[in-house]
């Protein structure tokens, strides 16, 4: 095991890890913002309101992230009207393509998680809200959403970890995230095991730190919940 080469490569790994974190954090925030309205729509009584977003979540949950990335990055660029359109500066940059696809992907999974949570909010609490005359939007703002989001915390935490791991695919569209840096280093020094081992350790560290933070968050937000 060639520890020396690992040490030499550490600064590059650091840069890669930073890009990975940047992509994951931004994608998760965007995904969260997308997920709430979609989740509310998916929990609706109206057949149309419920099933139109289903096309979105079904597509993004039913196809591999790799296909979504390639379709968006290489596939879109096949068409003249995209290359000459006003959105080209967005499609042109691998960074934005990755961010948008990641956001849409995590948004779809998160929406389904939130939908499940919304549908599991104890009906008694909703009834109590209606009984004291709350309007619909207040009901959602004060009762349903806070309750649902708290219930969704463990599953949502899992989804964020999955997003962190899925972000490793960003290298396939030329981004130098942690995995991209690793592959590029290996292309020069052929020390596959050492480099992948180091990358694995770094991902584990990131996951571990995140889990600790998330557990603190859960403890605090669920502190009035009798387990």
């Amino acid at each position: 095991m060639n520890w020396e080469e690992i040490f030499i490569a550490l600064p590059k790994f650091w840069d890669g890890a930073l890009l990975t974190l940047e992509l994951v954090i931004l994608a998760c925030i965007a995904g969260f913002i997308i997920a709430i309205p979609i989740a509310l729509m998916r929990a609706s009584q109206n057949w149309w309101v419920r099933n139109i977003p289903l096309i979105y979540t079904f597509f993004f949950r039913g196809t591999p992230l790799l296909v979504q990335l390639f379709l968006f990055y290489y596939g879109a660029a096949q068409f003249d009207f995209i290359r000459e359109g006003f959105l080209w500066p967005v499609f042109k940059e691998a960074y934005w393509c990755a961010l948008i696809v990641f956001a849409l992907n995590t948004g779809a999974y998160t929406a389904e998680i939130f939908r499940g949570a919304i549908q599991t909010v104890p009906h008694g609490e909703v009834e109590a809200g209606v009984a004291i005359g709350m309007k619909k939007h207040t009901l959602y703002r004060r009762i349903v959403l806070p309750r649902a989001l708290r219930m969704a915390l463990p599953s949502y935490g899992n989804e964020i970890i999955l997003m962190l791991k899925s972000s490793a695919l960003a290298y396939t569209i030329t981004l130098m995230d942690l995995t991209g840096v690793t592959r590029t280093i290996i292309a020069r020094n052929y020390l596959a095991i050492e480099m992948y081992f180091t990358a694995g350790v770094i991902y584990l560290l990131l996951t571990f730190v995140f889990i600790q933070v998330w557990m603190r968050l859960e403890k605090r937000l669920l502190r009035f919940q009798n387990v």
Partner: protein
């Protein structure tokens, strides 16, 4: 727009390879999942520790890294095991075996948790009754624990299988000719990435649909005779 330009058979072959990889990974994953659950529920602290190590490490690193590590490191491990038995030759792993092993390892780590939760949810009274009847340990496991645990495990396992199905696309990155790789080959000849990746996406969706339906049948079968909550 959907003119496959003669690559239809190759794409179909790729889709079939995807299914084979998924099934291979499932078999290995179920096996490892049961082993892992057994380890985590064992009375020996060492086994519990190994189980914990397995699930934490494998669940914490990206699946693509597991694939790459198994592909490059797997042979070294196998050869060392073989050496310790005195085998003198050289064993080599082909891409397919590396792929299903890596995917199975990943699946197994998550499946361990599903099985563990399911086994622990079997009402302990039933186990006690079985032991009181004089059933031996293996018999208790096969006749009482496992059937009831399966009922609880199927939804979780079904979801994991769908994830596995999508993860097969990662094996394209070590050049196994499954759906993604054969699509790339078609694209390198036709220069129409959108067409072929869209077709690939639709094929994945269809396979997912089939699995979803199978999962529903599986749940119905496993829940025979059990009254369920209706909303």
């Amino acid at each position: 727009m959907f003119d496959l330009q003669g690559f239809g058979p190759q794409i179909a072959f790729g889709a079939w390879m995807t299914i084979q990889v998924a099934l291979g990974g499932l078999v290995i994953g179920l096996f490892l999942g049961l082993l892992g659950a057994a380890a985590k529920l064992s009375a020996y602290r060492f086994l519990r520790w190994i189980g914990q190590l397995y699930t934490t490490v494998v669940r914490g690193i990206p699946e693509i890294l597991v694939v790459l590590l198994v592909y490059f490191g797997g042979e070294d491990v196998l050869n060392r095991i073989a050496e310790s038995f005195g085998y003198d030759g050289y064993i080599e792993i082909n891409v397919f075996v590396a792929g299903i092993t890596a995917l199975g390892l990943s699946f197994g780590a998550y499946a361990t948790e599903v099985f563990r939760g399911a086994i622990q949810s079997v009402p302990i009274g039933q186990i006690e009754a079985a032991i009181a009847c004089g059933m031996s340990s293996p018999k208790v496991f096969l006749r009482v624990t496992l059937p009831q645990a399966m009922r609880l495990a199927i939804p979780g396992l079904g979801n994991l299988f769908q994830v596995l199905l999508k993860d097969t696309s990662l094996v394209s990155l070590i050049a196994l000719p499954e759906l993604m790789r054969t699509s790339s080959i078609a694209i390198s000849n036709t220069r129409e990435p959108f067409t072929f990746y869209l077709i690939a996406a639709l094929i994945y969706l269809s396979i997912t649909c089939v699995v979803l339906i199978a999962q529903q049948y599986g749940e119905r079968w496993a829940n025979k005779g059990v009254r369920q909550v209706r909303t």
